[in-house]
Symmetry: C2
């Protein structure tokens, strides 16, 4: 028994190896590890090493590369080299890569593929990015329902080398409509002469090709599936999505939402390797947009210039008040964004969630008001303390309610709730915080 080599050790070995030792490493390392090490090198160097591998293993390692590197490599390769790699890739990986090639590369590539691959490729690559269709594979096993379980296992044995999974098979009628599914486990468990139709599961959980990948992944996770069948508008089976793709989708979706939570745009692939100009572009948009929100805060302050000049001590508490409102707001929005994403909360729960937040934010606001009133007394006397405590209570409550409402509002208008990021909520809560604070101050405090 031997633990898979830690990537770093493997990468160092790979970088320093002589030809003979290199071959050993290439033969023995897990393709995922090889891909990770190679990804740190220049495309030309990567290809030099890839070309040492047998064709099938080369395609496997290639399949583990990030999309960007695959495209960069594809540019270096001749039509034949690329067609050979694509021939050995799984149907879904192949379609993914094809979608990312330039129109010229696609046109050059197609004649090099066999008819069956070409048709399959064009069919799979027709689905828009982010849909179930774009991530599904056509390498699934189908079974006629009249077979006995022994015959069915025989069919699967013959077909296994070309299928992504044989643990779940699909029984379809002559129109490719899905009649049911049968697991290899049930085939093996049943007496050899049982008919497949007798152990068929009829209430199949499935998704449509135009459904989002997030929904598909959620179904796979919720029902603990190995693979989810995908049907088209005519209810015909067109592919399956396997659990390992669902894992990738869940991770990618979580990363995307996480980034959006700080107004960073969608970023495919590695942050470590991303071009600096790309990182700039993914961050600048919201940063500049939020300037306008903050200018509103500034305008609010300008409006109360007299109150401030008369009581310059007020400014001392300004960061505290707007900061706390923003923090309470981003807590609330984050809870809602994630709950909406995982399906824990739905649009119809809006009212109920607002009611709950009212109670929680009031309790938080009271705690915060107590916490700051002491400081208020010390720095400005009882009157200022009263203003600060009261403003704190209202600012935190308003922040919380904004934080809860924004994700629901976005969701209501079919926008991504994750846009209700911490910076956006903070900026909005800031404006209201400024207004609440100085409004209360101008009521309580003398102007001279």
């Amino acid at each position: 028994m031997e633990q898979a080599l830690l990537s770093n050790t493997l990468c160092d070995a790979l970088a320093g190896a002589e030809t003979a030792a290199l071959r050993d490493i290439l033969d023995e390392a897990h393709p995922a590890d090889l891909a990770r090490c190679l990804a740190e090198q220049e495309p030309a160097a990567v290809w030099k090493i890839l070309s040492l591998l047998p064709a099938e293993r080369r395609a496997e390692v290639f399949g583990y590369f990030a999309a960007d590197l695959q495209v960069d490599l594809a540019r270096l390769l001749s039509r034949t080299q690329l067609a050979q790699i694509m021939f050995h890739m799984s149907a879904d990986e192949r379609a993914d890569l094809f979608n990312r090639l330039s129109p010229e590369q696609r046109d050059a590539l197609l004649p090099g593929l066999a008819q069956a691959e070409r048709d399959d490729l064009l069919r799979l690559s027709a689905y828009p990015e982010g849909t179930a269709g774009a991530v599904m594979t056509s390498d699934y096993a189908t079974l006629p329902h009249k077979l006995t379980t022994r015959e069915a296992i025989e069919v699967l044995r013959r077909e296994a080398p070309d299928k992504e999974t044989i643990y779940q098979s699909y029984v379809i009628d002559s129109e490719r409509r899905l009649l049911g599914t049968v697991s290899l486990r049930d085939l093996i468990l049943a007496p050899p002469k049982t008919r497949v139709e007798d152990i068929l599961v009829h209430d199949v959980i499935y998704a449509r090709a135009e459904d989002s990948q997030a929904e598909v992944a959620a179904k796979i996770a919720r029902y603990d599936l190995l693979a989810l069948p995908i049907v088209n508008g005519g209810d015909k089976l067109v592919g399956i999505v396997t659990y390992d793709d669902a894992l990738d989708v869940v991770e990618a979706e979580a990363t995307e939402d996480f980034h959006k939570g700080a107004t960073v745009g969608k970023l495919d692939g590695s942050v470590r390797e991303a071009a600096l100009s790309l990182l700039y572009r993914k961050r600048v948009f919201w940063l500049v947009l939020l300037v306008f929100g903050n200018l509103f805060s500034g305008a609010g302050i300008a409006y109360f210039a007299d109150t401030i000049t008369a009581n310059v001590g007020l400014v001392f508490f300004l960061p505290l008040l707007v900061g706390s409102a923003g923090n309470a707001g981003s807590q609330a929005s984050t809870l809602m964004v994630r709950a909406l994403a995982t399906g824990d909360v739905m649009l119809k729960d809006w009212g109920r969630m607002l009611g709950r937040e009212l109670v929680v934010a009031a309790a938080l606001g009271l705690t915060m008001a107590l916490a700051v009133s002491g400081v208020g007394v010390m720095r400005g006397g009882a009157e200022l303390a009263q203003v600060v405590a009261l403003a704190m209570l209202f600012a935190v409550m308003t922040g919380g309610l904004i934080g809860v409402s924004l994700p629901f509002m976005l969701s209501r208008f079919k926008l991504d709730p994750a846009t209700a990021s911490a910076p956006l909520v903070t900026t909005i809560a800031d404006v209201t915080g400024v207004m609440i604070y100085f409004s209360i101050a101008s009521i309580y405090l003398p102007l001279h």
Copy 2:
């Protein structure tokens, strides 16, 4: 072919059904859907419906409940009822529930279980929360290596009903040390008289019982595994973690990090159903803690009170400057936190990431400086515009560098990088933003 009922429709049907119709629904619905609908009701009502189900199905639905509801229900049940449910649960779910019971409940329960279950339960429940050991199951299939593939399939057929997966089997020696793995796919593909030892995969990817669940899930995702074997300190096989548990872990980890990104504490289970007092407790700690950070900002402002009184127009740009520094900082920290969590970036990349951020943040800062200098001229003339633009450049750059450094610093001291939440980074960036702004202002602008 019939789509799984949408939860809402199912839940409504369940709530309104007469006894006969209710039985139909209970017989046909997917256990995951039933669990979701039932979770909305009171524990006593849940148990009333659960008790209508056959024992095995009852345990299956029970296994889909959130941990809190399982514990609430366990309190309602007699020792025998609970033991019966636990008998039918999978080994890992059983151990999870056992860990959450009170010491009295545990003591009452153990005598009701068979010896084998009892031993297994005590062994599995000995691992601390969050480790691979706490999520693994002992329901895996082992094979002697001398068998032929035909015999091996026969063994699996007999054992299948009790095993969580038979798609991956483990070959161990007399000391339970792992010799290799064999997939059912390879067993089926090989000619019937092949020996298992000839198709064994020897370079097994495994994890240790004390490894974190996040590491385990990452391995399963990276190597596209159906199940990952878990060994103890003596290299003996003690369990496996299956892909569906990995999916749950990835989702739970992402949720936890996402919540931490807005300083919300770790929250098991539904936000929708969580007690209000729990939500309060999960939010109040950081909210109050950050008060002190904001008081520093306030102190900074107080220090520059003369500058402000002389140029009250400066306050107009205060929210903008500190807001932008905070936003740039939370973007940078969010990118790093997620990259560290997914393994895209490691501790050794700190220097490189800082260098990259320096470039990106400088570009962002320049853009922002240009964007605000126009407003600066309009509201306060060329001199103020110069101050604001210069302060913006430095504030955004400082914010970005703080955002990159904080997750690495936390990681360096073995703390969770996700603690570098947007509110924390924003608060720290606020303080430095205030200092930078007024320092520059007091150099450039006259005090009278």
